[in-house]
């Protein structure tokens, strides 16, 4: 039988993770299944749990009055959904909606933060995995903001 720990450690983001650290973070994990159209979380809600998509597609969306719902990003197999659990005030700043059937791992944010705080080895292992992700998402956000495919200036 496939154990939760094996599933966690099979994920690309946790490749080469120290087995002891793997056991500790698995203690904060559980399996989820979302139907198409179901929300993983809503903007403004407390970021109690973040997700790692095992299979399926999730859209991060923003809705404002009088405007159509805009999709900020879509994520798929192997991707992390949500970073707001990492920084105060631990509130989601977008909706996350399943576009397909989604199988995901959910990680209890407070549980993981506590373990990072208590054991610097866990904290450092998480930082090494999440920092590149944050930087690449920041770069992607920059590129989106730059509107690189827009009409050249003066055209």
């Amino acid at each position: 039988m496939e154990t939760l720990e094996r599933i966690v450690l099979e994920q690309k983001i946790f490749a080469d993770l120290d087995p002891e650290v793997g056991t500790l973070i698995t203690g904060c994990a559980r399996n989820h299944h979302f139907e198409p159209g179901a929300y993983l979380f809503h903007e403004g809600d407390e970021a109690r749990e973040f997700f790692l998509v095992r299979h399926g597609e999730v859209a991060l969306e923003i809705t404002s009055p009088g405007r159509r719902t805009l999709i900020l990003n879509t994520v798929a197999d192997g991707d992390i959904v949500g970073a707001s659990w990492l920084v105060q005030p631990y509130r989601w700043n977008s909706d996350a909606r399943a576009r397909t059937h989604v199988r995901a791992l959910g990680f209890d944010a407070a549980c993981l933060r506590d373990k990072c705080e208590a054991d610097p080895l866990v904290g450092y292992a998480m930082m090494k995995r999440f920092m590149p992700l944050m930087v690449s998402r920041l770069q992607a956000a920059h590129m989106q903001l730059l509107d690189v495919y827009g009409r050249p200036e003066g055209a």
């Binding site: 859209a59 992607a140 690189v148």
Partner: protein, 275 residues
């Protein structure tokens, strides 16, 4: 008959396909003599009579009776005049000029195309070449990003390519609402998902320069060496054949040593603003 490189040859517009609100693809046939067959990645100088010339990448080579194809975005006087041409009207063509995508030297390699926006146009002849000679290459992937779903080029051809079972075509848009069912996010998001083997891959990247800078970072972090990363640069050009110096880029002229350049040759100056 010898073709004088300075003299545009008259070509007739066979068809105009309006790709997006400001982008049109023109099928051209020679009125008399034809320019030599362009290699994938080369460009020509298109002359809108009475208005001026502009360098435009060939987006479809005149192979096996097919027309010479250019995809043009209306951004200035010349490109506006070209995109307003209608079937039967004529324009001047000289060239082809510049370097080509390394479709020959990449023989037996895995091929990764990364295209952004209008950058799919200069890459299309290379994609067609690779697909027409599919058994000569390993894994083939195309990552294509556009601003929104309405800005996508060559929808029908992309759909055809997607139907092929041995080519991976991934498309994403920067912005979309819920009516779009495909991926949303920048094209560089697709790079880590492409799952290519950097030891056996040649990448060809084309798009706005900022998009190419971000793409190179993504390819570099995926382990792809600069020696197998190729870009197509865009610079203001006048003569198209390395005489006027308008397109100087460091020690090179983009029209002659480019527009397709191997990244290790230009990495040291690519992000230098003054160049």
């Amino acid at each position: 008959m010898t073709v004088d490189p300075y003299v545009p040859l008259p070509y007739r517009v066979l068809a105009v396909h309006q790709d997006t609100a400001d982008v049109a693809t023109l099928d051209l046939e020679p009125v008399g003599a034809a320019i030599p067959e362009p290699k994938p990645g080369q460009f020509t100088m298109l002359y809108a009579f009475g208005v001026g010339e502009a360098p435009i990448s060939v987006s479809g080579a005149p192979v096996d009776g097919a027309p010479l194809v250019h995809t043009v975005r209306a951004v200035g006087a010349v490109s506006n005049a070209i995109t307003r041409l209608r079937p039967g009207q004529e324009l001047g063509v000289r060239g082809p000029y510049g370097t080509a995508w390394p479709v020959e030297s990449a023989d037996s390699h895995d091929i990764l195309f990364v295209a952004g926006g209008l950058g799919l146009a200069p890459l299309r002849p290379a994609v067609r070449h690779v697909l027409a000679n599919r058994d000569r290459y390993g894994r083939v992937s195309l990552l294509y990003g556009t601003r929104g779903p309405e800005d996508m080029l060559y929808r029908e051809e992309l759909t055809e390519w997607r139907r092929m079972l041995d080519v991976e075509i991934e498309v994403t848009v920067d912005h979309a609402d819920r009516t779009w069912r495909g991926a949303v996010g920048v094209v560089t998001n697709l790079i880590p998902r492409a799952g290519f083997d950097p030891a056996h891959t040649t990448a060809m990247v084309c798009g706005p320069e900022v998009m190419m800078r971000f793409s190179i970072l993504g390819l570099q972090s995926a382990g792809l060496p600069f020696e197998r990363t190729y870009l197509s640069l865009e610079r203001s050009m006048k003569c198209g054949m390395g005489l006027c110096g308008r397109c100087q880029f460091g020690a090179d002229f983009v029209c002659k040593e480019g527009a397709v350049m191997r990244y290790d040759r230009i990495a040291h100056i690519f992000t230098v603003r003054e160049i």
